[in-house]
Symmetry: C2
Subunit: 420 residues, 2 copies
């Protein structure tokens, strides 16, 4: 079977890859390790350590409190870069702040408070847990109904299912553009248009989309969005998230956490809260500058590559994973747990296998391939285009086949750890 | 006048200072600059750059996603250290997470939701703005009354004022242990006892207290607290804040932002939100690890010094500021805008002057002394005990006197900048 797609063909794809040289923009000091988990935590950009060291030494150590004038707008400046290079949004519509969960709470809260006469929130039943939990809390606190739309674990939410659920009682729809588990990619423009017809807000979670697929927030008519910067954007562990609010909505929507970074003329320290007139009103407290800073050199790599080229390479990497899974892994009990059409997938591919948990452990421990496990029985594989070679995918699938064949994983514990 | 307290006496105090050698634990590469703004942003600990560099290179760069098992509990581990060395709290009661503002929202929201039959929130009318704004929002959203207690701008809240306002309709009292403007220090145990008599929760903002004065959360009977780690704790710009929930309250209180870090068995990704049984339920989203990390080497310096020794030195430094202000600055129109009794002050001293804004600017630009301005007419001076010498205070006050005498500040603009 292995001769169906010999390794030299993967090497040829690397030779022809216009993004190949960008691999050097990352710290890769263990060349035997194949990292297919960039959709969980992206790699360290090579420019980041010096960038951070300078910030710590000069900005904090020498500049001290006098550096705040350059720090205070950093989230806005990076937000504008992100808007331009990855989100198809306008200046002043995106800011880096807080965690994805807190941002989701702020924007979902804002949308609900703007629609007091509507009783329903729609969410994909398979939406990433924190989104569902945040919405469950908001629904309970504000006396709304959270309706979980049935969704296929592999194929994602069907457009029909959403359309059938949309009516004039719907206040808010929350969906991931790319599903965290299956990688299923939604048609954002179609969802936005359908929701607009019934007057509902759409809040997008772009955590698994941003930096992997071109997002067009303005052109697709998106209202609200949040997302991570530590996956395909390579901003570092727990790097602060972003939020997007369409310019036309900024003057009317108000979020529930009235912190001083959202206050007009913040340092006047006035008696009453009066929200800033622009995107700043969606901010709350003092941003964690070291973690914000690490997003800057990471975005520079994204800008250099260009999101369209990233997507093109990502499509081919994904197709290679699927082709080799069909040829080499299906005989060992693996099934594709993502849409088969590459244009309906984001940047990762899921495979299901009854022993996925133990296989993912054996893969990392014995075969030095890092993917990740997701309940109930999924192995997620992400070939992040900025630093993953076609030959890495070939080698990873080859090693995965060996693990499946030799069944050494049967010696490992099948009990979940705290992080699985 | 200057002979009243000759400079050599300040030098003698430094020779006798048991914490003097700890100054070397900080990066101080501009010895002519006198930094009296450690209550806004603390200095860079000398161990921090290497600590962060190792984390970035080894933890992120090499470890990649495999480092999460050591990162995920970091906020709890650091919280326990903070509890032990600075807060007088028990293990499992303190965690580092989010910003002070978001933490305040979570804990105030929890207290209000636990007291649905009580209509009033009490706050010091001169409380730090973000606290007042957050509470204003919560009051409006939950149909409560936010009552602002009149408070002296220099002396802080009078115990009588609070006692007179406490009745069985009070759900929550929010106060700073040390006032951000005057530095006035409250008797936490007395406030906690008075509030308990009427069944109200007290939520302390410890931002200007932690690391400057010994706080005894357990012994004083405190319910809830939040605070910064970037002031006296030297955790770096915008370092994540901490929150404290008394152990006995953890099983009953619930906070409004239901993120996945607050979920029991987080990675099981279950359908319904069920809050963790312990302090974890007050967490929300993925923590910004680089910014969390910087708190660790900073706490090591605090632990080495010991909070009691820090307070003792802080008292003497404050007394020196007041003594020299009386002798040298009162003739130039300055008045003490903090309690005169050192035991009623935290770690900083405020002076009022009609030209405080321009004087603070001239002081930094011409005399190389960094303090800070606060509306309406306050100059805040903080001699952080871990790295400030008595002779620094002497020199700073001497330079301030020169600025006041020569009135060169009259050439500077009197319009506030965004950050003043």
């Amino acid at each position: 079977m292995r001769d169906d797609f010999p390794r030299y063909l993967a090497k040829e794809l690397d030779v022809a890859d216009p993004l190949a040289e960008l691999r050097d923009r990352f710290v890769i000091n263990d060349d035997d390790l194949i990292y297919l988990d960039g959709n969980s935590l992206g790699r360290l950009p090579a420019a980041t350590p010096d960038f951070l060291a300078r910030l710590v030494r000069d900005g904090w150590g020498t500049g001290l409190v006098r550096s705040w004038p350059t720090w205070i707008d950093w989230g806005r400046r990076l937000g504008d870069q992100l808007a331009r290079h990855a989100l198809g949004a306008r200046p002043g519509e995106v800011v880096i702040s807080d965690s994805t969960s807190v941002n989701l709470y702020k924007l979902a809260g804002a949308a609900l408070d703007a629609t007091p006469d509507r009783g329903t929130i729609l969410v994909d039943a398979e939406e990433f847990p924190t989104d569902r939990y945040i919405l469950q809390g908001l629904a309970e606190q504000r006396g709304r109904i959270l309706r979980r739309l049935p969704s296929d674990l592999d194929q994602g939410l069907r457009p029909d299912t959403l359309r059938a659920a949309l009516d004039s009682d719907v206040a808010l729809v929350v969906l991931s553009a790319v599903s965290y588990r299956s990688g299923a990619l939604l048609d954002m423009a179609a969802v936005n248009a359908a929701a607009r017809e019934v007057g509902a807000y759409v809040l997008w979670d772009l955590s698994h989309a941003v930096g992997a697929v071109p997002v067009q927030l303005t052109a697709s008519g998106a209202d609200l969005a949040v997302g991570c910067t530590y996956k395909y954007l390579n901003g570092g562990p727990g790097a602060p998230a972003f939020l997007y609010v369409r310019e036309e909505l900024q003057a009317t929507l108000r979020q529930p956490i009235w912190g001083w970074f959202g206050q007009r003329d913040q340092f006047q320290m006035r008696s009453d809260y009066e929200p800033a007139g622009d995107l700043d009103r969606f901010l709350v407290g003092t941003p964690p500058i070291l973690s914000v800073a690490a997003v800057e050199p990471a975005l520079a790599v994204l800008a250099e590559a260009g999101i369209e080229r990233i997507r093109q390479k990502g499509l081919r990497l994904g197709e290679l994973i699927v082709e080799l899974a069909d040829a080499w892994l299906a005989p060992h009990g693996f099934s594709l747990a993502s849409p088969r059409d590459p244009h309906r997938r984001g940047g990762h591919v899921s495979l299901s296998h009854p022993e996925a948990l133990r296989i993912s452990r054996a893969l990392a421990a014995e075969a030095r391939v890092v993917g990740d496990f997701r309940v109930p029985d999924r192995l997620r594989l992400c070939a992040a285009p900025l630093y993953t070679r076609f030959v890495d995918v070939w080698d990873a699938m080859d090693r995965l086949r060996d693990v499946a064949e030799q069944r050494s994983y049967l010696r490992l514990p099948a009990t979940p750890s705290r992080l699985t």
